[in-house]
């Protein structure tokens, strides 16, 4: 009896360096460079309206990307994320204004609170599928909003909560951050946006995220492969809710006034979905692109003065006057028309359009190359 010959060992291929799953130097470098450039913006941009635009864009990026985790990757189209946004905003503001608890603790508690709320809401609504889930998620958010309106003793109801001031944050003995002006909010919003986009990256490339995507593609098939849909949908929702609540807290601290209709209204939920639809659902870059487009569009129509501060138009420019006089109340209308156009003509969002366009160019180049070679042969 001969001893079995061990199979020849295949030479171990040197795996490329990976800092984390899905890591690739070019795109990682591009992201780091973009973030570094953005971090430098306040050094050169001092005009308050321009910083305001950036802050609104970052908040929109955070909202859209947060929704993307559960809506884009796990495929659960929640149209009730205003509930988490509102829980975040209300927890922070109530702790600060009614109990004098500083917002850096408040934000943490707000996130915790939203995660707990998300577990409860998930337990109720994840039993529903498709359009029923959408309806259920709307109903839950409306219950939260009506509750906040009704229990005046607890939330001050429709009267809302006005922020009187944010205490300075003391980090070391001689380093304190005073939350005055736009700059601290710029960095806070940028940091949040970066964190949420990073979370999307992990969801796209890690095993946990693969589970989410499997559930999105076919819940029953995923289930039969041993991926518990209830558990994983709840995890996706918890991640999403945590970042949404964080964005809500930051929004409340920045805008300094909240009431149930502003932070828990159906519009808030819809906007989060629209950001993703316009940019491209279930992609990392999609919500970022969508947030830029939507925020620039709506903020410009609402208050075009930033164009003046950016030096693009003079103060007397007829364009500014036209926007202010004629288009002042139309921002939602334009917004709506844009979304209708995107859904009808670019169902994969702006990113999808860009992808199609580059694919077409590449095909044409390839075809051109073939044609150029042909005469030489024949």
């Amino acid at each position: 009896m001969s001893t079995p010959v061990p199979p020849p060992r295949t030479p171990v291929e040197l795996r490329p360096f990976r800092l984390f799953p899905g890591f690739a130097w070019p795109s990682f470098g591009a992201w780091v460079a973009a973030i570094a450039l953005l971090a430098l913006v306040p050094l050169f941009v001092k005009k308050p309206l321009l910083l305001h635009m950036w802050i609104m864009v970052f908040l929109a990026v955070a909202q859209g990307s947060a929704w993307n985790v559960v809506g884009g990757y796990a495929g659960q189209y929640s149209v009730g994320h205003a509930a988490y946004f509102g829980v975040g905003a209300y927890t922070t503001m109530m702790l600060l204004e009614l109990h004098q608890i500083a917002p850096w603790w408040g934000v943490g508690l707000a996130i915790l609170n939203a995660v707990i709320v998300s577990v409860v809401i998930g337990a109720i609504t994840f039993r529903l599928r498709g359009p029923y889930f959408v309806l259920g998620s709307i109903a839950v958010a409306e219950i939260v909003r009506l509750g906040a309106l009704y229990w005046k003793g607890f939330t001050k109801g429709a009267e809302g909560i006005l922020l009187s001031g944010i205490p300075p944050l003391q980090i070391t003995q001689d380093w304190t951050i005073a939350f005055v002006g736009k700059r601290p909010f710029f960095y806070a919003a940028l940091m949040l946006a970066v964190l949420v986009v990073a979370a999307n990256w992990f969801v796209q490339n890690t095993k946990l995220g693969f589970y989410f995507q499997a559930i999105r593609e076919d819940q029953d098939a995923a289930h039969s492969l041993g991926i518990g849909p209830a558990l994983h949908k709840s995890i996706a929702l918890a991640i999403s809710a945590a970042f949404t609540a964080w964005a809500g807290s930051l929004f409340a601290l920045y805008v300094r006034f909240i009431d149930p209709n502003i932070v828990i209204g159906l519009d808030v939920s819809v906007q989060m979905v629209l950001i993703c639809i316009i940019g491209g659902i279930g992609t990392i870059l999609g919500p970022v692109v969508g947030a830029f487009v939507l925020t620039l569009l709506s903020e410009t129509l609402r208050n075009p003065k930033w164009l003046v501060q950016a030096g693009l138009f003079s103060d007397e420019s007829p364009v500014i006057a036209f926007i202010q006089q004629r288009l002042a109340n139309t921002h939602v209308l334009f917004y709506g028309i844009l979304v209708v156009a995107v859904i009808l003509f670019a169902p994969d969002g702006i990113l999808g359009l860009a992808r199609d366009a580059t694919a077409r160019v590449r095909r044409r180049l390839a075809a051109g190359g073939r044609r150029a070679r042909q005469p030489a042969e024949g």
């Binding site: 109720i124 359009p131 309806l135 709307i138 109903a139 639809i277 109340n329 139309t330 209308l333 859904i343």
Partner: protein, 297 residues
């Protein structure tokens, strides 16, 4: 003595609430039937339904202020007008996304509603408009209960229209074709039914029903661009309660919701809407096929 009178009073209050609940519920039923018809035929949940109702209100109000035609009479104008609008919406927008993700369909209708709302906001501003008829605030007395005149009229109109619609769906060839499309789109197509025409018809009918409901509510409601949103959500409750796609269910659901809301409002005014949503969630969770089970139409 005082005690017995108090008890009698509370009985009357409950009876009164139930009565006005039924009357209002008739209008909810009308809104719900439109939604269920659209869902049944196209499997599209129309989130712009309340906004179509709002358009009906504005059309009625506009005709009334310009010409003085009674809101119940001007139905003969507003209903066909909004039918045409619905048919246009169907051909221009909804039809293009029938095959796409249900999520995109939902968003499209949400945004179409947004556009309609904001267009009206631009034209008529956000001011509350009031349509006052000679009978807007008058009422009949019936066994010690007061019956609001406009509500009673609207309930009667609702009853007639619901009966007519039911007859149309059950007795005519076109109605049968609509039902066949709702039952199985592909099979209906194979049987030679023009499915896309039935869709246009269904969306037009649904829109007209919402508009009629708007017209019926106009004499008793403030009219403003955002008036539709609560009706959209209420229509969902009605439809889910009765079973998606079931006309009889929606009629029943409408009356039930009207009564539930009216009774809830009699106790705690602020909790009126909250109750409706909680009820909605409970039905979604425990009886998702609706109270009438799986019946369609």
């Amino acid at each position: 003595m005082k005690h017995t009178r108090g008890r009698h009073g509370s009985h009357m209050l409950i009876l009164q609430s139930i009565l006005s609940g039924i009357l209002v519920g008739g209008v909810y039923a009308l809104v719900g039937i439109g939604l269920t018809l659209i869902f049944g035929v196209m499997r599209v949940i129309n989130f712009a339904h309340g906004d179509l109702l709002m358009l009906g209100m504005y059309a009625t109000w506009w005709i009334f202020t310009k010409t003085g035609i009674d809101p119940y009479l001007s139905l003969v104008l507003t209903a066909p007008l909004l039918f045409a609008w619905g048919a246009l919406l169907q051909t221009a927008f909804i039809n293009r996304i029938l095959g796409s993700l249900p999520q995109n369909q939902i968003l499209l209708t949400i945004v179409l509603g947004l556009v309609m709302r904001n267009t009206m906001l631009l034209i008529f501003t956000s001011d509350y408009q009031i349509l006052t008829t000679s009978y807007s605030s008058s009422s009949f007395r019936l066994f010690g209960l007061s019956v609001s005149q406009p509500l009673l009229y609207s309930f009667l109109v609702t009853a007639v229209i619901t009966a007519a619609l039911y007859g149309f769906l059950m007795r005519t060839d076109t109605g049968q074709a609509i039902r066949a499309t709702a039952q199985d789109r592909e099979a209906a197509q194979l049987m030679g039914i023009n499915v896309s025409r039935m869709s246009i018809l269904a969306f037009g009918l649904g829109t007209a029903l919402a508009a009629i409901a708007g017209a019926l509510l106009a004499p008793t409601y403030y009219i403003y661009p955002d008036v539709g949103a609560p009706f959209t959500l209420k229509a969902f409750v009605v439809v889910v309660l009765g079973g998606m796609g079931s006309v009889v269910g929606a009629t029943l659901g409408g009356v039930l919701i009207g009564v539930a809301e009216s009774l809830g409002g009699a106790w705690v005014a602020g909790l009126k809407d909250l109750n409706v949503y909680v009820l909605f969630l409970l039905i979604l969770l425990f009886k998702p096929s609706g109270l009438l089970g799986k019946s369609r139409m």
